[in-house]
C-alpha cells in the first residue's frame, strides 16, 4: 500500500496537460496552411505578371512589324512628298508605337528612321458636369 501511495505522489507533468498537444498541432497546421496559401498566391501573381509582360512584348513587335508594312506602302507611294512622315500603330489599349521617318534625296537609302518609341495614349477625361437647374 505504501508503494502505491508513493506512486500516486508522482509530480504532475508540467506543461503537458490534456489538450496541449492538440493545440500545438492546430497551431502548426494553421502556420503550414497559411504559408502554403501565401506561397501559391504569390507565385500565381508572378505568373500573371510574367505572362502580361510576354504578351506586351509580343504586341510591341507585332506593332513594329505593322509599321514596317506602312513604311513600305509609304515608300511605294509615288505621290508622297519629301520630308518627314509620322507613322503610328496601337500596341494595346494603353500604348502606341510612333515612328518618325525622314525622306529625302540626300539620304542614300531613301529614308531614315529618326525615332521609334512607344508612347502612352492620352487618357480620355469624361466631362460629367453637375446638373444645373435652369429655371423650369
Amino acid at each position: 500500500m505504501n508503494a502505491i501511495q508513493q506512486e500516486d505522489k508522482r509530480p504532475p507533468m508540467i506543461g503537458m496537460q490534456s489538450g496541449t498537444s492538440l493545440l500545438v498541432v492546430v497551431f502548426i497546421v494553421l502556420c503550414l496552411v497559411i504559408m502554403g496559401v501565401l506561397s501559391l498566391s504569390q507565385v500565381l501573381k508572378d505568373r500573371d505578371y510574367s505572362l502580361q509582360v510576354a504578351d506586351e512584348n509580343r504586341a510591341y513587335y507585332a506593332a513594329y512589324s505593322a509599321l514596317q508594312h506602312d513604311l513600305m506602302a509609304a515608300l511605294n507611294d509615288e505621290s508622297r512628298a519629301d520630308g518627314s512622315l509620322v507613322l503610328e500603330e496601337d500596341i494595346n489599349e494603353e500604348l502606341y508605337l510612333r515612328m518618325e521617318v525622314e525622306f529625302g534625296d540626300e539620304i542614300s537609302l531613301g529614308y531614315e528612321i529618326t525615332s521609334c518609341r512607344q508612347i502612352p495614349k492620352p487618357k480620355e477625361t469624361k466631362s460629367d458636369p453637375l446638373p444645373v437647374w435652369k429655371g423650369q
Binding site: V25, V37, S50, A54, N57, M72
Partner: protein, 141 residues
C-alpha cells in the same frame, strides 16, 4: 478490516481514473498525428505546385529576355539575312549547350520573305516537349 477494505476501494478508483486519462491522452495524440499528416500532405502538394509554377514563370521570363535581345539584334542589322533556318540549343541555365544531349531548350529561328523579312522565334522545352514562347518581327529590307 473494514478500514483496509475502504482503502483498497479508493485505490481502485484512483487506478481506474488514471487509466481513463491515459486513454484520452492517447486518443488525443492519435488525432493530432492524424491531423498533422493530413495537413502536411495537403501543404506539400501546395508547395510542390508553387515550385512548379515558379519554375515555369522563371523560364518564361528568361525566354522573353532572350528573344527580345535577339529581335533587337535582328532589327539593328540592315543587311538581308543569309541564314533561313537556325537552331540553337540551351541548357537549363539558358547558356548555349555544347551538344544536343545536354540541352534543355531549343530555339528555332526561321527567316522568310523578300522585301519585308519575317523572322520567327520559337523556344521549346525539349524535356517536356512544350512551347514556352514564340514571337515574330518583320523588317523592311
Amino acid at each position: 478490516m473494514a478500514a483496509s477494505a475502504i482503502s483498497v476501494k479508493i485505490m481502485g478508483n484512483k487506478k481506474a481514473a488514471s487509466h481513463s486519462g491515459s486513454g484520452f491522452f492517447l486518443l488525443e495524440i492519435m488525432l493530432s498525428v492524424f491531423m498533422l499528416i493530413l495537413c502536411v500532405a495537403v501543404c506539400i502538394s501546395l508547395f510542390a505546385a508553387s515550385r512548379l509554377i515558379s519554375k515555369k514563370t522563371l523560364c518564361t521570363d528568361q525566354a522573353v529576355q532572350l528573344l527580345s535581345g535577339l529581335a533587337e539584334q535582328y532589327i539593328a542589322t540592315d543587311t538581308k539575312s543569309f541564314l533561313q533556318e537556325i537552331s540553337v540549343y540551351y541548357d537549363g541555365e539558358f547558356s548555349p549547350a555544347s551538344d544536343d544531349a545536354s540541352a534543355d531548350y531549343l530555339l528555332e529561328i526561321s527567316v522568310t520573305g523578300t522585301d519585308i523579312e519575317r523572322c520567327e522565334f520559337t523556344l521549346v522545352d525539349i524535356s517536356e516537349d512544350e512551347m514556352i514562347y514564340e514571337m515574330y518581327v518583320e523588317k523592311l529590307i
